[in-house]
Each structure stands twice: as C-alpha cells, then as structure tokens.
C-alpha cells in the first residue's frame, strides 16, 4: 500500500467515524424532554389568554342554564398551570348559588356574595363533570 492509499484509508475511516458520532448525537435524545409535553404543558401558549378564558367561562355560566359542553370546550386545551392563571383572572364574581346565575331578587336588601371559580364550577356542573375537571386541575379544584 502506498503512502497516498494509506492516507486515503485513514481519511475515509475518519469521515465515517465522524458521521457516526454526529448521527448518534442527533438520535440519542432518549426521553430528553427538551420539548414541552402536549398534555402536561399544552401547545397553545402563543394564543392562550387567561383573561379571555375567564371571561368565556363566566359568560357560559352566568345565565340560567349553564352550557356545560361549552365549559368543557373552553377548557379542553387549558393545562393545569394555565388554569391557575385563569383562576386568578376570574377572581371572584357575584353569584347567586340558589338560582345558579347572577340574578339578585333581593337587591334592595343585600348584594350577592362574591365567589371564586371553584365555587362557580362546583355549582354549575354536575358532580361527574366537576370530577373530570378535578382530575385535570387537582391543584385548584
């Protein structure tokens, strides 16, 4: 084998080894978790607005006859961390627990109490529906 052939062989082996190392580096990301998990972290961060979600929830619940399916639809892509922001944005809203809305027949006598989102959801949804939300947002419900 000439010197030239020997050098070519070395360069060839070196190139193959380099390609192998690069390939392993790229493909060895086993469970690295670099990207957000779509279930845990969601993938709507860019479009998510806690105040808008809170307003939508209030709108779905404030009248007689809550649209439960709308509530589920509003919260479908909201993660637990995002729900925390929604919870804060919702704050406390006047609520008539008896009627399940914001009507106050005795406004001349006293004003409605202010309730947080947990109380609203618990009263407006069925036990089964509320339990589903509790499974998704155990920190807040």
């Amino acid at each position: 084998m000439t010197v030239q052939q020997s050098n070519n062989l070395k360069y060839g082996i070196g190139a193959i080894a380099l390609i192998g190392v690069v390939y392993l580096a790229v493909t060895s990301n086993k469970g690295g978790g670099a990207t957000n998990d779509p279930i845990v972290n969601g993938n709507n961060a860019a479009s998510f607005n806690a105040q808008n979600v809170a307003n939508d929830l209030l709108e779905a619940m404030r009248y007689l006859g809550t649209d439960e399916e709308e509530v589920v639809s509003i919260l479908k892509y909201v993660t637990q961390d995002q729900f925390g922001k929604v919870f804060t944005a919702f704050g406390k809203q006047q609520y008539n627990k008896t009627l399940g809305n914001q009507q106050n027949p005795t406004a001349w006598f006293d004003e409605l109490p202010f309730e947080n989102l947990k109380t609203w959801l618990k009263n407006e949804l069925s036990t089964e529906e509320y339990n589903i939300l509790r499974l998704k947002y155990p920190k807040y419900l």
Binding site: G31, T35, D37, P38, I132, L135
Partner: protein
Amino acid sequence: MNTQATSKPSTKRSLASSIEGLRGIGDLDPRVTVIKETASVIPFIIKTGIVCGIGYFIYRSYTNRFIKFKENNNYPVANVTLAQAESRANTIDQSVGTFSGDFDAIANAISGLNYNGFVRVYNAFGNRKSTFLGSEMNLIEWLRDQLDDYQFSQISLLLNGAFF
C-alpha cells in the same frame, strides 16, 4: 341420429323405454344441456368464493392489525411503567358493564398521563373487543364506541386534546 324422427312423441316414448334412449333424449334436449353446462360452473363458483373469502379474511386481518404508537423521544419520558400502563388498560377494558360503562373508572385510568404515558396505555390496550360479539378496536376507537360524544370530549379534555 335423425333429429326429425326423434322429435316425434311416439319415437321419444319408444326411446325413453331404454336407458340408452334416455341418454339420447338427454343429449338432444337443449334444456338438459343448459342444466349440465350450468352445473359444470358450480365448482368453479365455489372455488372462486373460497379463494375470495380467504383473500378477504387475510386483507381484513392485515388492515385491522394493531399498529403501536411510538413514544416520542422529544417529549418527557412516560410517567407510568409498562406494568402500570397494562393495569390502566385492563381497568378501561373491564369498566364496561352489561348495560353501561363506568365512565368514572375510564376517566381515572386516563387522567394524569403525559404524552408518552398515554402512548404506553394505548399500546398496552392493543386491539380489544368492547362487547362479546363486537369487532376488535384500539383504545381510541374503543372509547369512541363506548362513550357518547360529550363523555368522549371530556376524556379528550383530560388529555388536553393531544390525541383526539
């Protein structure tokens, strides 16, 4: 044989008195010929039916085979072990009662999973029958079959809409 002669009723009667004669009439009667020709096709039809049936069975078995989801290495590792995933899959499978499914049990089995965790439960579930006579379905098909639209959307909510 003279066909004009054999077509006469008297000649037919005399020919019919012997076996050879009956065969002669059979050979000449177009209705018998048609029946014979038709009968000769039956084995072909049966063989074709069997071959097509076997082919269809193989095709259905192939197209209905269970295809596993791959865990996504870009997402965090599954938050359930393979054994836990199997247990959750079994819980879902057993939640179907005689008259109605136990929705709470299904919801509990689905909740708290991350992306790769659901993949494990999905793979552990494989293809299963929802009812004794029902066809085999994967987990997502099974849930869609067993739950009404609203319940299905609630399960989707638990998964943050990641899979359906």
